[in-house]
Amino acid sequence: MPLHTEPRLADPDGFYAALMEAHRGLDSEASRRLDARLVILLANHIGDAETLREAIALAREGLAPERPAADTGDRP
């Protein structure tokens, strides 16, 4: 299933406010935890691997630099 990129939220301001409200009063570590939980819950809801891959790629756009290559070679 391709990722929807056209607007779909009936009440965008309401959604945004709810998201901000959820983060209110949290320090940055707790906020990060909240976001992580949300991503996991929503990813499971979407379920489709291809859609998730597309979403990850889209979210990663413009966030250079690229990850360094994996550690390789015969090192201790």
């Binding site: 570590e29 990060r32 935890r33 976001d35 992580a36 939980r37 991503v39 996991i40 819950l41 499971n44 994996a70 550690d71 390789t72 070679g73 015969d74 090192r75 201790p76």
Partner: protein, 545 residues
């Protein structure tokens, strides 16, 4: 330090080559009598081949390393005559339980379905397995076990390899037509051939403590993330026989290994975990780091690499030893077929084609587990903790919890030895998978299906009901839905279901019990022979490519 086990010391036997001074000739030489070298030597000997097995030491594994032996390994040792012994002495477990901080996050059953001779896992110290393998090798009369024999030089040749062997009584040279390198992670054979390891090193350290205690923990795998008694790190607990328990403490990269091995320090860690009321003795302590890596190819002409000499993984998932035993299982029958002139040498290329992807699967799984257990950055830790928190309350997060994806038999999915299905098969065992077990009855006696597959060392045509004939040289095994003389009665229907087979179907299984071909509604002897030839890498008789 070990108190529950005394390492046997095997005698050095002076080889004739030390006296006559000529180059000794051997058909097959195995370097390294670790668990993998012993397994492949035993497999070859049971196929009637003579093997020279060289080890620099004079005993089995000192201190415990591997403890978890997977169902497939037990099945392989069943075929080699040691399965019952492992099952009897080992601690059987099927359940894994994961804790986060002070509460249980989730548990899993690795063998949710009845009807297998062997459990998902038994825990047993590596030295027992090796000791029994040594005894079994000796009993064949075909394994020339040479202790205190260090291979110090290896020269690969078109017709085998020339070894320089050093012993307490001097050195000699041995030419082996085939050389199996089972000399572990620091393989000298690998170095001599200039083969680099490719892969990943993990920046973490782990403390292994084997403790003797009488404790009431059940026989299951317990894994803690960030527990109160070892904050910020993980801990793994396994039960072994002899009231021995394996505790694995994650230490982090900055830990000082020497300091961490000090008995007082280890005792304090263990006491924090067990509480003040459980007395224990420390039996073994070590600190290790690990890597996930392999060499590029496992076959180099007449030299073949198995076990840790070919690939290494992190211990989470118990894929090291279990993977190596599958290497031995894969190579044994192939090398025997080549040496008996039944198959071309090209068959050995399939060892590479089948076991390299299997090693990659083990590396991938154990690397992913390690990434979960040792988060590399803040984001990774936030996601890891989020998964663990959610898992306690919501089933959806449980599949994401990764405390080790435990060893499974490799499905040789892209094997060149498999014959593609003529018609789509649908449900059931995929091609290249190892045969599932099932309870059966033979002449009114309870029995197990796997005991009869590859029992004579060769290929098996598994026939559901009468019908197909096996060509000469292939054992025919009939599984019947009703009691019938000479057939295995599939009284529970599990055999048919697990293979996805119905009346009249037949399947061709390799000597290592992996599925090579299957025929809906049966097959002619000619079709079965063609599939067998393909599984032996014999070029098509009709000359087609």
């Amino acid at each position: 330090m070990p108190g529950t086990y005394a390492n046997p010391r095997y005698p050095f036997r002076r080889p004739a080559a030390l006296d006559h001074g000529r180059v000794e000739e051997a058909g097959v030489a195995v370097v390294g009598a670790g668990v993998v070298g012993l397994t492949v030597a035993l497999d070859l000997a049971r196929r009637g081949l003579r093997v020279v097995l060289l080890d620099e030491d004079d005993t089995v594994s000192f201190g415990s390393r591997a403890i978890c032996w997977a169902k497939r390994t037990l099945e392989i040792y069943g075929r080699l005559g040691l399965g019952a012994r492992l099952l009897e002495k080992g601690v059987t477990w099927n359940t894994g339980r994961v804790f986060f901080r002070d509460r249980e996050a989730y548990s899993f059953n690795l063998l949710p379905e009845e009807g297998h001779e062997y459990p998902a896992f038994v825990n047993l110290q590596q030295y027992y397995v090796e000791e029994w393998l040594v005894d079994a090798c000796e009993a064949t009369g075909l394994v020339d076990l040479r202790w205190k024999s260090r291979v110090a030089a290896v020269e690969p040749r078109a017709d085998g390899a020339l070894l320089g062997v050093e012993t307490p009584e001097g050195g000699y040279r041995l030419h082996a037509a085939w050389l199996l390198a089972c000399d572990g992670a620091r393989s000298l054979v690998r170095e001599s051939l200039g083969l680099p390891f490719l892969g990943q090193v993990f920046r973490d350290r782990f403390l292994i403590a084997d403790v003797v205690m009488r404790a009431a923990f059940p026989a299951e795998r317990r894994f803690w993330f960030d527990p109160p008694f070892h904050p910020g790190q993980s801990v793994l607990l396994h039960r072994q026989p002899d009231d021995l328990w394996r505790i694995d403490f994650q230490l982090g990269w900055d830990a000082d290994p020497e300091e961490e091995k000090r008995p007082e320090r280890v005792r304090a860690r263990v006491a924090a975990m067990l509480g003040p009321d459980i007395p224990f003795d420390l039996e073994w302590v070590s600190v290790y780091t690990f890597r996930c890596r392999r060499i590029g190819r496992f076959r180099h002409g007449r030299v073949l690499f198995l076990g840790d000499a070919a690939h290494q993984v992190s211990p989470f998932g118990a894929r090291g030893g279990n993977g190596g035993v599958q290497d031995a299982d894969n190579l044994g029958w192939k090398l025997a077929a080549v040496l008996r002139g039944e198959a071309p040498e090209a068959l050995l290329d399939s060892y590479d084609a089948e076991r390299v992807p299997a090693a990659d699967e083990n590396i991938l799984n154990s690397a992913r587990s390690t990434d979960f257990i040792t988060p590399k950055n803040e984001a990774a830790r936030a996601y890891r903790d989020a998964v663990l928190e959610l898992a306690g309350r919501h089933a959806l997060a449980r599949p994401l919890v990764n405390s080790g994806r435990l060893s499974r038999p490799a499905v040789l999915a892209a094997s060149p030895l498999s014959t593609p299905d003529a018609v789509p098969w649908g449900e059931g065992l995929p091609l290249g998978a190892s045969a599932p077990d099932a309870p059966v009855q033979r002449d009114g006696e309870p029995d197990w299906l796997l005991r009869h597959i590859g029992a004579d060392g060769g290929f098996t045509l598994l026939c559901f009901g009468q019908g197909s004939e096996a060509p000469p040289g292939i054992a025919r095994l009939v599984v019947s839905a009703v009691p019938a003389p000479g057939a295995l009665w599939d009284h529970s229907g599990l055999a048919a279901r697990r293979f996805g087979a119905g009346p009249g179907d037949c399947l061709l299984l390799r000597p290592d019990q992996h599925l090579a071909a299957r025929f809906r509604g049966g097959a002619t002897a000619e079709a079965v022979r063609a599939a067998r030839d393909r599984a032996l890498a014999i070029p098509n008789r009709r000359g087609a490519a």
